[in-house]
Amino acid sequence: MKIVNLLRIALRAIRRNKMRSFLTMLGIIIGVGAVIAMIAIGQGSKQSIQSQITAMGSNMITIRPNSNIQGGARMDAGNVQTLSEPDVTALRNNAASISALSPLVSARGQAINGPDNWTSSLQGVSSDYLSIRSWPLKEGVVFTDQDVKAATKVCLVGQTVASNLFPNGDDPVGKTIRFKNIPFRIIGLLDKKGENAFGQDQDDIILTPFTTVQKRISATIYYQAIFASAINDQSTSNAVDEIQQILRTSHRLQKGMDDDFTVRTQAELISTFTSTSQILTVLLAVIAGISLVVGGIGIMNIMYVSVTERTKEIGLRMSVGARGVDILMQFLIEAIVISITGGLIGVVLGIAATRGVSLFLHWPTLITQSSVVLSFMVCFITGVFFGYYPALKASRLDPIEALHYE
């Protein structure tokens, strides 16, 4: 029998039992819808974390002091003081794979502009910092190396700081604010950066030359971190090796001693986060997959009922010349049509649900082509797998007995 004829018979049988066919499909519809929505949510959060991390600057390398066993006492990471001026000089002179460097010295405190005040973080950095973070200025200029040398009291403010200190919308550039009672002249306004992967507001920040923080506020010669930029993506791991060697030399660490600093790249951060969200995606997909299997069992159940109900029809078809394989194909195709139709509706529903999630919950989502193709194939396989045994049963009926079945 031709496949078109089989399809026609299957469609007719499905149409004849609309409600039942729909209820049978429901399992598949929910299964596929769930697979697509779940994967879209998983992929969406993965992608948004990735792009946020990349937005921090993809070649960025962070060096932080590390608690090293010193005299048998492990020190709290925040108080470790191992990074300072000679390290930056050594890196600047010897690391070939690094294009930019900036120390970080930060202080928290209250910034005041007339009657308005706002508690924020004052971060002392070099003039290279913004290029390392790939963070453009919205207005004004960046401080110069000259400002760094002179520890000038100039600053750049983030959008959150600007809107809190200048609530009536005045242009902050050119104004002077006070931080811990020291006047800072605002020379630039940073572009909006949004929240980072940890949910922190990155625009709640004031940038100033690191020397200014060191000399006028913290009275320290140490850095909380050093930021660096590899010359390009490929040289990131070279840069990490170079940094490690240079800093070990500069810190006079003997062979066998642990590093007293940690070097991290964006790539590592990305992979940590993506593997977490990968697990999430797999987990969601497994849950959704289980509902697909349940849907398949529903199909199998209904196909058994359908075969029993239509025993007489099967006998008649055999008596007018249907071969076993024709009957097998008839019921198999019916099962596949049910599962694929369910799959189609499920895809539409899954996409709608995904849209709903992004629209109403503001979750990041990403519908991938592969998830649609995958769930479609799973549907087809479900139809074949769960439709096969009922169809086989039908094809093996004895025509005379089938004809006399009541």
Binding site: N5, I9, L316, V320, L403
Partner: protein
């Protein structure tokens, strides 16, 4: 010789007991014959017809259909025989419910790869016209009378141009007038289209429409006789019509 049956036996095992439905049966049918098989209920008529239609296999004995030993055929070859060589008419019509007369008649052609959808439709329509149901093509079985349903079933048996048509109590569910209409169709098929007909019935007056009657009892042939006074169904119907006119002028 279209049918050659030799020493045919069919036994059913019912637990301990053995039912001999057919017990050493031999006969032949030549192409173009119209044979009635008579016998009381349980005499083995249906069992014999099922074997002749290749739906069932004998316990022993031989059955040559159109010169071919049926026992040597594979299941798929048998399906081909059902489809192209044999037409079967049931007592209970066995039409597919909620399926139009036309689609019911198309059914055997669905399993015949030679027919395109267009040819299938045309052939089914033509066959329905031959059984005088052209105006009922799109009716569902539930919208048809018993006689009309049986005519659809006859069209279905004929649509593939079989060499032999087998009917099992085809008039069993019908009143006598409708039965005669069916017999008229069967006679036409035999006389005008040259089809071999094997017609099972337990009603003696129906047997009178054929030239030859084989009578079964307890699985054996007790009589195989020619009928020299074949009734013509068309005439019988015409008489019936004039009779009704006289009764209700």
């Amino acid at each position: 010789m279209i049918v050659d049956i030799r020493n045919l036996r069919r036994e059913f095992r019912m637990g301990e007991e053995m039912v001999r439905a057919l017990n050493d049966i031999s006969f032949t049918i030549t192409a173009g014959e119209f044979v009635t098989i008579m016998g009381s209920s349980g005499s083995g008529k249906t069992t014999l017809l099922n074997i002749m239609d290749c739906l069932d296999r004998p316990t022993s004995g031989e059955y040559f259909l159109d010169g071919v030993d049926v026992s040597q055929l594979s299941k798929n070859e048998l399906a081909g025989y059902h489809n192209r060589k044999l037409g079967f008419i049931f007592q209970a019509y066995n039409l597919l419910a909620r399926t139009s007369a036309l689609e019911n008649v198309e059914l055997p052609l669905m399993y015949n790869k030679k027919f395109s959808p267009r040819q299938r439709r045309d052939k089914a329509m033509e066959t329905l016209k031959n059984v005088r149901l052209a105006d009922r093509m799109h009716h569902m079985p539930s919208q048809l009378s018993g006689g009309q349903q049986q005519r659809v079933a006859i069209a279905r048996a004929l649509v593939n141009d079989p060499v032999m048509v087998l009917a099992d109590e085809a008039t069993g569910n019908l009143d006598s007038r409708t039965s005669y209409e069916i017999m008229m169709l069967i006679q036409e098929l035999n006389e005008m289209h040259g089809k071999t007909i094997v017609f099972v019935t337990h009603e003696p007056d129906i047997a009178l429409f054929s030239k030859r009657t084989i009578t079964l009892r307890d699985g054996k042939i007790i009589k195989d006789a020619n009928n020299n006074h074949v009734r013509n169904a068309k005439e019988v119907l015409a008489n019936l019509a004039s009779l009704t006119e006289i009764q209700n002028p």
